[in-house]
Amino acid sequence: MFEKLRETARELLSKGEVECVLGFAEGTLPMIYTPYHARKPEEAEKLVYGPFAAPNIATYLRKLKGKKAAVIVRGCESRTINLLISEKQLNREDVKIIGVPCTGALDRKRILKDYGGEIREARIEGEKVIVKGDKGEKAYVLEEYISPSCKSCLYPEAIDPDIKIDGPSRDGEKADFSDIEKIEKMSPAEKWEFFEKELSKCIRCYACREICPMCYCESCFVDSNRPVWVEPGFDYTDILSFHLIKMYHMAGRCVDCGACERACPLGIRLSFLTRKLTKDMKEAYNFVSGLSPEEKPALGVFSPDDREDFIL
């Protein structure tokens, strides 16, 4: 099923058009694809794409600075590339964008939890994930187990790719924010409790920060010890500060790929925050981040008719 992609990658590499093709390869565990860059034509055989790819591959472009690379992207990843270009982190001419279809990224932790045993094998069959392990074989409907961020995805397909691999993708028109609306309707006390329950699990490993393609700062505010913005330790105030300040930095810059949530070893639902950002930006400014590399960052421009009703 990956033949078209592999053929494309092989050709780009053998003609020397690019130094590497960045994407995913099979991982060592079930339901995991691992980031991979093919550097020789024969390595193109390893490239895969699909729901088992959890990170946002654009994160790895910073490791390939100065190299001509082709990158295999889904909708969110292509929008990230646009953002990186608009923020001068990437030159458009350095990347060749290969768009692949996307049916959403799998919420792997939820399958692991629901299966309840040790999964030793998994494969995708049509619209199902078939897993095998010590509790026997079970099938899960993919649509029910994709990341929450993917459920509210507005642009599942890559925007303006140089090369497009065809296949069935999600429908961006069907983006569903109903669970975010439910949280919006909560009272402040209920919201506080809801977020505390999620975020107090945080161990501050910063997997969410490191996996984020837009968290590219050389030094992060949480790491600063002069002055100390966020104290060490596990006081909830500090944990909350980290996550909320991170979100402030993300407004209009987050493509809501959900990679942070999938990266969290504790399974914290970070998409409640990222999806609210996406929803607010769309409602308040009719802005969707990363639609074009020419677009200025939402919070980097001022217009006299910007709405102000949220200013206290």
Binding site: T28, K63, C205, I211, P265
Partner: protein, 318 residues
């Protein structure tokens, strides 16, 4: 070996003190056994400016020990490895107190996970030499064997039956099936080889997928790196110890601004070198127990088993 009904033993331990059950659910991703000895955040001392009297310092008292019931052999072995750092050349009083107060009831691992590779390190899911008491769940009963004096003391007052040959047979069969389910990585000679590989180009390849978060180090039962910080308030404050991770850029950042491990490549190299070269060199033991936690927690599927295989295949000049 002796045997006892599980409920009877639990009742006995409940009366004895602070019982922490680790046998009911898989201990994932964090190791409770590690954090019971080296908490993620630990208060070291409190200080206060008391008028003209100057600074008053108070060291908190211990909170008493816990009985950790159902520790897996790998985690108990990991505590033995922590001892090398905190009790061998320098004694860390905070660690020592917890180590002395806690009692470890180790439960043989009947159902290893697909990520387990403990048998690579010269022990296995049924190794009975770690912790204070060794137990095997044979279904209707627990087979039980004290390992240390502290363990024997914890069992005092209990009537233990002698295990029958059929009980032991059951244990042997469980052991065979558990060991059979584990993939061993042959790491023979790796520590010597790594010594010659510090400048090898393979590290850049290995580190490519790693994004340098701290997940692997925080879930690791043998990773012990910490940071000590003073938290200041108006006229008082406290000193605390918190986990730190060699994966973070500020871990090795020096005051001058120089960072000897400037990129993820050097940081990844350090994590592997520490466990598979420096630890054996210092202590004669690997700093990894093969529990597979880091493999399961990694957001990008960095698999330490695969990394070891790759390192083994690299050709180095003699």
């Amino acid at each position: 070996m002796k045997k006892i009904e599980k409920e009877k033993l639990l009742r006995h331990l409940e009366e004895k003190g602070n019982l922490v059950r680790l046998d009911r659910a898989r201990q994932d991703p964090l190791s409770v056994t590690k954090s019971s000895h080296l908490p993620q955040e630990e208060l070291l001392l409190l200080f206060r400016i008391n008028g003209d009297k100057g600074v008053e310092i108070r060291v908190p008292e211990g909170r008493g020990g816990k009985i950790l019931f159902g520790v897996s052999p790998c985690e108990a072995r990991a505590v033995d490895l922590l001892d090398l750092t905190f009790l061998r050349d320098r004694i860390d009083p905070y660690y020592k107190r917890k180590r002395e107060d806690n009692v470890l009831f180790v439960l043989a691992c009947n159902k290893p996970r697909s990520t387990c590779f403990c048998t690579s390190f010269g022990y296995g899911p049924f190794s009975g030499k770690f912790g204070d008491v060794f137990m095997v769940d044979i279904g209707d009963n627990l087979l039980i064997d004290p390992v240390t004096e502290k363990g024997s003391k914890a069992l005092e007052g209990l009537e233990l039956e002698e295990a029958t040959p059929s009980d032991l047979e059951k244990m042997e069969s469980l052991k065979r099936s558990a060991e059979g389910a584990i993939t061993t990585v042959n790491i023979e000679g790796i520590s010597e080889k790594l010594k010659k590989m510090f400048l090898d180009e393979i590290w850049a390849d290995l580190a490519f997928k790693c994004v340098n978060c701290g997940a692997c180090t925080y879930v690791c039962p043998t990773c012990y790196c910490f940071d000590i910080q003073d938290v200041e308030r108006t006229n008082w404050g406290y000193r605390e110890r918190v986990w730190d991770s060699c994966m973070f850029p500020i871990y090795s950042l020096e005051t001058s601004g120089h960072n000897p491990r400037p990129t993820g490549v050097e940081r990844m190299r350090n994590r592997i070198m520490h466990k598979f070269s420096y630890y054996p060199e210092l202590y004669g033991e690997y700093g990894c127990v093969g529990c597979g936690r880091c493999i399961r927690a990694c957001p990008v599927n960095f698999d330490i088993r695969e990394a070891l295989e790759t390192l083994k295949e690299v050709e180095v000049a003699a």
